[in-house]
């Protein structure tokens, strides 16, 4: 039912041994396989009433493939299930998109450290747009308050809360840099994270087993782990979603900034760039010499964080 290469299977077995924990998806799969062998569909609950429907939908969700291997039809089906589940479980009407990349687009980001004033509106906007867990206060974007003369974010203050900007300081935003040569992708044992053709590094939340190898591999602290079941107040849920973006996540999976794939593939700026009151955030198509990001790369002093690691991030800091 799940298409996996032999390599995948070998890795899968290894992961099984190392990581199988009670109640995990994989554990469930094993049991389910056993049941299916023993009694076939008898294990499936009847379809009477919404509770039955919910179980049936979840059951089908468990057996779907990796997003990258799905056919158009399978994508449409899982989207329909996810939308229905959101309605049944949370009472919200969501639209889950699977819009692919645009042709001739490679996304890149610029961050003007002369301009940012530490207002943190990017962070709030990101939390809302991406349906980030309110309980553990998950944030994809962090802003560090730095003293002039230092450039190491580890020495900056990442939890400031006072009137900004503070004299003698500047502000530096850090989030997933969508590296072209991303160490997180290489670290993933289940191929649950990959680089899309438009350069966005994404996670298939249903394929992630929560081993957090990617988090250890990321030199930029770009990834977040769901220790608890994420929770968003019903009236604050962003309904326009993308399969690889802000759709519902569960406990035990890794997530991160997706350059707001649900917005950027609709031609919009990511929520952080859109919300920024100072214009410190520049976003656009690296393949278009007439784009703002290309103007920045050509005309400004730019640098990338930990350039020497060779991760090749598509996120440049600059001053004017």
């Amino acid at each position: 039912m799940r298409r996996r290469s032999s390599e995948d299977r070998a890795i899968g077995d290894f992961v099984d041994r190392v990581l199988s924990r009670p109640g995990s998806r994989r554990e469930f799969m094993k049991k389910a396989a056993g049941l299916a062998a023993a009694g076939g569909a008898a294990a499936l609950p009847g379809c009477g009433g919404p509770a039955g429907e919910e179980v049936m939908l979840k059951w089908k969700e468990y057996f779907k493939g990796n997003y990258r291997l799905m056919t158009r039809k399978e994508k449409d089906e899982t989207v329909r299930r996810l939308e229905r589940l959101a309605k049944l479980q949370d009472g919200v009407d969501v639209q889950v998109s699977t819009r692919p990349e645009w042709k001739q687009v490679l996304f890149g980001y610029g961050f003007n450290i002369t301009r940012c004033e530490g207002f943190m509106e990017c962070v709030s906007a990101c939390v809302r747009e991406n349906n980030l867990d309110r309980i553990s206060k998950t944030q994809y974007v962090r802003i560090f308050e730095m003293e002039h003369g230092q450039m190491n974010v580890a020495l900056g203050d990442g939890k400031f809360f006072h009137e900004v900007p503070v004299e003698g300081h500047f502000y530096m935003g850090v989030q997933c840099f969508h590296c072209e040569s991303a160490p997180c992708i290489k670290a993933c044992p289940t191929k649950a994270t990959w680089r899309e053709p438009d350069g966005i590094v994404v996670v298939d939340y249903d394929w992630c087993i929560g081993c957090r190898y990617c988090m250890a591999a990321c030199p930029y602290w770009g990834r977040r782990f769901n220790w608890n079941e994420p929770s968003v107040p019903k009236d604050e849920v962003t309904r326009k979603q993308h399969y690889l973006g802000n759709r519902k996540r569960t406990r035990g999976v890794v997530e991160k900034c997706t350059f707001c794939i649900q917005r950027t593939r609709e031609g919009k700026l990511p929520a952080c760039a859109d919300a920024c009151p100072t214009g410190a955030r520049v976003f656009g198509n690296l393949l278009d010499p007439e784009s703002e990001i290309r103007y920045v790369l050509k005309n400004k002093k730019v640098f990338r964080m930990k350039e020497e690691l060779g991760t090749d991030p598509k996120f440049w800091f600059f001053i004017d």
């Binding site: 002369t114 782990f225 007439e290 103007y295 598509k314 004017d320």
Partner: protein, 205 residues
Amino acid sequence: MKRLALSVTLCAVALTCGCRPEAGHESGVGAVIREAAEPVDSAEAAAVVQMDLPAAVLSEVQGPGGRFRVAARKGEMERFRCSGCHKGKTVGISGAAGTAHDDIALRHGEDQGRLGCATCHHEKERDFLVGADEEKIDFDHSYQLCGTCHFRQQKDWAGGAHGKRVTYWAGTRIVKNCTSCHNPHSPRFARRWPATFSPPLDEVR
């Protein structure tokens, strides 16, 4: 001042870590970027999605892709049209400037000699701003006024390194006007409390 301090820091970083503060390496994304020299027309792709565009005017200056669009201002101004009150030379109600525009306090370029209202507002054609040669400037094109004194910022703004686009990265390029962000009478951003805060790093991980 801030700019200078950051330049110094940046040079120090470039020297210590041996990385060049340029667009990229010989390989990797830097090479991809250098090879991409032809403009990409996103209009076709953008046509697939529905765009909700704000009122905007065609710029009188050039950006990297030629003229672009600038968010209109007149619809945002509470007291436009000015000529509703300013018909003659003076409105003629003594002491009324205080009440009519008492919200306007000029804090702009104070160190270099005060700017007066007439530095920017046309004294005869009240519905317009005034350029260096007494020419009329429409309020929607106020970036032209600002540009007479802030040429560097205007250039960066037209290029895309100062200011920002409105809502979309694709399709028609529409950018915010200078006065969408800066109050022309007091252009410096006010200090304020941040919108939120972050928990300590180790607690989240």
